[in-house]
Symmetry: C2
């Protein structure tokens, strides 16, 4: 009898693989080891749970335990995989009832990524949080809720929730001032969430602009908008330590020695792939430090696959491996590996680095390669133009400025990246650019796209067409 | 000295050509003959002017007379071109000061299209309108406005407006019941506009569903929504006559002899290309009845170009000529011809038949080929699937059902068309499909597009990805 498929990690990639495989090949035994108690939950919804727009933790669960059972998946929570022997084809597992070796026929590493805290000393103080896990999101919401109206039961989450820890935060007085350390996705989304609780928000960003992966034009628009919303920005400011009083966050210390008072801190200075379990194996990591895989998600070791935030993917613009840990990629790669293991070799699909984020009312999007150095490293000669145009016909109510940046390779004219920012349906428009990247379109072809026009939704020349027209004019010259 | 470039028609295509040419080659003489008094106005904004969301007619003018002057364009209003002699290279013009022959070096036919009224007897009654021109839009708004609050000056439009006619409508009592004959774009948009004035709206559509070019799924959603909004639908009902009392519309008579009372009527039963001026010339028409052109917009006669609603274009899916009279195409083709005439041969670009329309709160989009017969005629073996999925993460407020249809060719797997309907950012998402058509993507490639995901804007699997996944599953089988 074949040894089971062992999947390490019970979130998006792992459970997508398990679900697809169990549907396509119900006879194949599948075991999923998850070291924590939560499985298959929506990371990206955490800021909105903190804000209170999403009621309970249960709303963030994609698959109920019952649904997982129904699919015939043998899911073992609180089981950490601590080692892999790719010769013997076994994993070493530590569970509530002790340690054991589990043989595998195929192994899927879907261990995800973790929020980095090591750059910020004092991240372990009471009142310091990462937004990377439901317990921690629940703790932040508990702290924000006045004790008189807080009840841990209101948060949902059943037995998985660390109720004792959360209740402790629920008993504390809400903060007046919050420090957000890091102006990436989490930082910008948490600024909105904390502001909704009338907390005085300070956002610290090491570089000169927040969400630097979205490029300058988006970053500048977000700066202006965050300030309008009353967020205090500390740009070009490195935080090196959280300072405590009686074990609780009290101040933030910056690299230049100045300090800023804060009753709580959210640390969002990036994520790191969880690759420890393959570190002493022949499974190779890519340049990014995440696990290298081929187009089917298979690692450098036969029968060992990797998917999701711990793995690389092929970038559709460069054709090279890249690490862009985001939700869709994890789901899709997991699903493809499930299909492959069920007997239908299926490519995991490329990534374009498409991402969108809401910064209060500003909708921000990006895809492909925006950074000039990164473009040059990939062998392109980047030319970029930024334009601002209306989101609707100028005479139609609700028309909003929409700023688009497009980047092309000078010699081939090929579009290699783009960004967008605006308040009226800006984010989903980035999909047009992402699709053009997949199609390998030139700027000339993008300029002639037959995009939708009707006064309530778009001007005659969609902002993306305007940007293509201007960039194309540059390339012609 | 070269004879001037003569452009017939002063709207989107004609003035785009004139503007581009005068910018790129300021020394070339350009004359634009426009038979009416209005130039360069936004047709598509008329329903919103009638509704009152757009204040004045002036808001709908894209180029002011001053701006046209500034560009050095010799624009002659009230000058109708009544004939073309392609051998002598002259056009016969009838202007306010009599008739004359105008020699041309290059001729651009941009005569547009007209609303068809000949299928509906009685269309000339007082209280019957087409929404194809600013005078008629102004007349409808005048009629809807209670006489006590109406002032023709409030509508703007300066000297171009037929003030006498509009004032006559302004003095009439507003209608209680309106018949909209034809459920195309104009019909659906006018239903919303008239409803906003508390008129009891009856919409008559010959086929079983409105906006048939958007396919069944969209049509059904629109039917449901129009009924929710209180619009009375008469589907599968052909109107053959408007019946008058004292010269004013009083009833609508259907093909089966039944009649429905109505104080006013909007006739929107399609448009026809204005091709009369080339009818006795060697300039050939395509199968559609519009003017046939090559990829540069040149007709079958050298030095004679055609652009906009009177001309065909190359369809990006079939590669064949097709007639899809819409705003972006007109602007783009005009502009390309202007560039070509200035010495830089520029393709007009293909059309995908992308269109969007707002039906009250429903956003509808379509692109490519949806109709199975049309697909088969073009040599495809069409397979189609329709799905409904959320517009945002299920737990995020504002998530709305979004219905997507995708159509592919069975053998090649190539995507050939799609439609979408929903209330949350549905319309602009059709651009993703339009871009995939331009890129010639297969359904497999569409399924693997790296589209944007963030809870406020899209679920992990965007509705378009869900549709591609389901359709791809069918193709695999």
């Amino acid at each position: 009898m074949t040894d089971p498929v062992v999947i390490v990690g019970g979130d998006a990639a792992g459970l997508s693989a398990a679900s697809k495989l169990s549907r396509e090949d119900p006879d194949r035994e599948v075991i999923v080891f998850e070291r924590g108690s939560w499985v298959s939950y929506a990371h990206c919804g955490e800021p909105y749970f903190v804000k209170g727009e999403v009621d309970t933790l249960d709303d963030l669960l994609s698959l109920s335990p019952a649904a997982i059972d129904e699919r015939g998946i043998d899911l073992r929570r609180e089981h950490g995989v601590v080692g892999v022997d790719t010769d013997a084809r076994t994993v070493a597992v530590e569970g509530p009832d002790g340690s054991f070796e589990q043989p595998y026929g195929d192994l899927v590493v879907a261990t995800g990524a973790r929020a980095r805290t090591e750059p910020i000393a004092g991240s372990d103080l009471t009142g310091s949080f990462t937004i990377h896990g439901l317990d921690s999101a629940a703790a932040v919401r508990a702290l924000l809720t006045p004790p008189a109206t807080f009840a841990v039961e209101d948060l949902g989450g059943g037995d998985n929730l660390d109720r004792e820890m959360v209740a402790r935060y629920g008993a504390m007085e809400p903060p007046e001032t919050a420090a957000i350390v890091g102006g990436g996705y989490v930082g910008v989304e948490m600024a909105e969430a904390l502001d909704a609780w009338d907390v005085d928000v300070h956002l610290f960003q090491r570089s000169e602009l927040p969400i630097p992966m979205f490029g300058e034009a988006v970053g500048e628009a977000v700066v202006e908008h965050l300030r309008e919303q009353g967020v205090t920005l500390h740009l070009g400011t490195e935080v090196d330590q959280l300072l405590g009083e009686d074990g609780r966050v009290a101040r933030v210390r910056c690299g230049d020695g100045t300090t800023v008072a804060a009753d709580m801190a959210v640390v969002g200075v990036g994520v790191a792939p969880n690759v420890e379990i393959v570190e002493d194996t022949p499974v190779e990591l890519g340049e990014s430090g995440a696990i290298a895989v081929d187009e089917y998600g298979e690692t450098t070791v036969e029968n060992v696959y990797a998917a999701g935030d711990c793995a690389e993917d092929r970038h559709v613009v460069t054709g090279e491996q890249a690490w862009v840990p985001l939700g869709l990629t994890a789901n899709r790669a997991g699903r493809a590996i499930g299909e492959t293991l069920a007997g239908t070799p299926t490519e995991t699909g490329g990534i374009a680095g498409t991402a969108v984020v809401k910064a209060f009312e500003e909708e921000c999007g990006r895809t492909g390669i925006l950074d000039a150095d990164e473009a040059r490293d990939a062998g392109f000669d980047p030319v970029s133009r930024t334009i601002t145009a209306g989101s609707r016909s100028g005479y139609y109510p609700g028309n909003e400025d929409t700023t688009v940046t497009l980047v092309a390779d000078r010699e081939s004219g090929r579009l290699i990246g783009g960004s967008i920012v605006g308040r009226d349906r800006a984010a989903v428009r980035i999909d047009t650019v992402a699709t053009a990247l997949e199609g390998g379109l030139t700027v000339d072809e993008v300029e002639r796209l037959d995009l939708a026009y009707a006064p309530p939704f778009s001007p005659v020349w969609d902002p993306i067409l305007v940007a293509a027209k201007v960039l194309n004019g540059t390339l012609d010259g």
